[in-house]
Symmetry: C2
Subunit: 401 residues, 2 copies
């Protein structure tokens, strides 16, 4: 079977007209002799509206009930899209995450896909139906409805494509992957191709567009992922294996992230046990830590800084309070006004000195770097939010992004 | 276990404040040492809004997808109510119809409950949780989500109470069952008690408030049903077995129904086979027929009139067109401006002449009766909608309702 998985985001199905437009695109693909599985997000800001009601009721609603609540958003979309396809004369069937056999593990509101039972999808595809699957959701071992975290529909789509061993097309409100956010730097270039590795760094660093786990899955199962606009007919960007003989640019992209806060713990007792305990406490609550830096010990204590998403600040505060009680000598500060810039490029493997080059650029402009972390193909700088635009312009100009 | 099932309708959970109010009522009952199962409808006009979107997409959306769509309404309510209870310090858990093991048979959008696997409910009740169940929905053998038709939440509630052998409290926006609709006849009396049989007639005749199947279930399993307001503390009306030594009023209530249309088929060939075929065609599409009358044969053909809900007019038209093709001699008319008045009372068993008395009342006022049907404890009259108010006043005054 010539299968393809298509995923349409919330904006693409934001109203009835757009749902009908999506239905037409699906039919076009179907008439090119494809079997199609469609993964859909909730309509527009539906999820936010549902969450707003939840937080009117409780500051800290049980996460199981959050999942019960917000999973309805995708259920509405799949039903409406299936109706649109049926009304256009094509057999379609909508399936919730639970019905489609998406089995998850982990905590509510940020579950992970453990496995997909693809027999239901395959059965309907064989009957020549278009299968419409609710993205972002699944069910755990207790048959409770779970969700995969923001952007989880991408993960649903690539996971299904991985299981079916077919390409995955992600349709969204941008026409591809850019070297950096065109809203911040209007001359940003659209990329035709990007490697999984580069895209992973871009995504995990807040370049938006795609969910990290989705790209990891694509990489693991060698599934080409096409990111394109749900409106026009432009080709978009293909995410795939890096080509070895390709003469890469030093830097492929610049990711900008304003969604993190920086936490600094001072006077942390200098012992592996304490450091491990701190990060273990955070991990137990599933709090994502991104950048981490630690000073060298002085008077047998160290300072530890790390960044974490703003969305997890409430949980993080709880743990910080707990840790401050457990280790009375620790004091901590939270900086909510940081901006994280990350340059990403496979070319960095063969070009040294990029970090130094950027340090010089920023220093000349009087921009203070609060934290730096590096990996093989990326360097991240945490700076004051106020300096963001200036820093972006400097880097983008210097590296012709 | 001292279990009680409570059901709250859409108006009662129409906004966040009301949901919190409902949570408080539940907690009050819980603190009176009850184990509680709560069945909830969709918030306010949520179901209508969802249906509106569906009909913007298609005139005749697949009913399976309608169920997928509208079942989200109750799922939102149960999640929010559970959050409210948890935030007030009480353990609660929300369950969809499918999760709670409500197994249905029959057609989508009007399924019937085949069985309930009460093990999940009992497990949570044992753990002293308040169990919040999505009304109006279940799942069929194919694990497709199904709904029970308008007002189906009442059926869900009484079915669960029947399975658990406990009383069922239906909380709504009226404070009990009235002899007739107080909006039509302001002096209508609230009843303290009404028998299942009388209530069945009232409900099936469009007196609103309660779903017929819910009352049938209560009668079958001897479950007392209490109908009361979700706002105040007034006692409401108890629906239960009729007390044999009770000296009943001749007429307990008057039901008014404007939701039916009258179909008249003329020149129907006079044969059992044809008549059976007509009603069989309607039954196959699950169209509810209420009043039926047939003229005595003339020239070997008869006229048949029947009433059916306006909501089923579209399906009914399809079948009429089909029948008119099959039996070219048949002509048919549809009267959408009829009003059905039904007087109901166990007392009619021992009092004859009620039908005649009402005929005289109506005739004196110049009101033409289009159709009459009678049962042991009720008489229904179809009249022109324009005559409705006059007829209601005449009957209510005459029988002191």
């Amino acid at each position: 079977m010539n299968i393809v998985v298509q995923k349409y985001g919330g904006t693409s199905v934001g109203n009835i007209d757009r749902i009908q437009n999506v239905a037409k695109r699906i039919i076009k693909k179907k008439e090119e002799n494809h079997k199609i599985v469609v993964v859909v997000s909730a309509m527009g800001d539906n999820t936010d509206k549902l969450l707003e009601m939840a937080y009117q009721i409780s500051e800290n609603p049980p996460k199981r009930e959050i999942d019960m609540l917000i999973s309805t958003g995708e259920q509405v979309s799949i039903a409406l899209l299936s109706m649109a396809l049926n009304s256009m004369g094509h057999q379609a069937i909508s399936l919730t995450g639970s019905q489609v056999g998406i089995k998850t593990t982990g905590h509510h509101t940020k579950s992970r896909i453990a496995d997909i039972d693809d027999s239901t999808i395959k059965k309907h595809l064989k009957e020549d139906k278009i299968v419409i699957v609710a993205g972002f959701q699944g069910a755990n071992e207790e048959s409770d409805i779970t969700t995969l975290g923001r952007g989880g529909s991408d993960t649903s789509a690539v996971a299904i494509a991985s299981k079916l061993q077919c390409p995955c097309e992600i349709y969204t409100d941008v026409d591809g992957i850019y070297s950096l956010d065109p809203r911040v730097y209007p001359n940003a270039k659209k990329l035709d191709v990007i490697s999984y590795e580069e895209m992973l760094e871009m995504a995990s660093l807040g370049a938006g567009i795609m969910h990290t786990r989705a790209i990891e899955l694509g990489q693991k199962y060698h599934i080409p992922i096409i990111v394109a606009s749900s409106m026009g007919e432009k080709p978009g960007t293909v995410i795939k294996e890096s080509e070895k003989n390709m003469e890469s640019a030093v830097i492929t992209g610049l990711a900008i992230d304003n969604n993190d806060v920086m936490i600094t713990l001072n006077h942390v007792p200098y012992s592996i046990r304490t450091t491990a305990d701190i990060f273990d406490s955070l991990a137990k609550k599933d709090i994502n830590i991104d950048m981490i830096s630690q000073t060298s010990p002085q008077d047998n204590s160290v300072s530890i800084s790390f960044t974490t998403p703003k969305s997890e600040l409430s949980d993080t505060r709880d743990i910080l309070a707990f840790l401050a009680k457990k280790y009375p000598q620790i004091s901590y500060g939270i900086n909510e006004d940081i901006s994280k810039l990350s340059v990403v490029g496979i070319g960095m493997r063969s070009h040294s000195g990029v970090a130094a080059q950027i340090f010089v650029l920023l220093a000349k402009a009087g921009i203070e770097v609060q934290m730096v972390t590096t990996s093989e193909i990326k360097i991240s700088y945490a700076i004051d939010s106020a300096d963001q635009q200036k820093a972006v312009n400097l880097i983008a100009d210097a590296f012709e992004l």
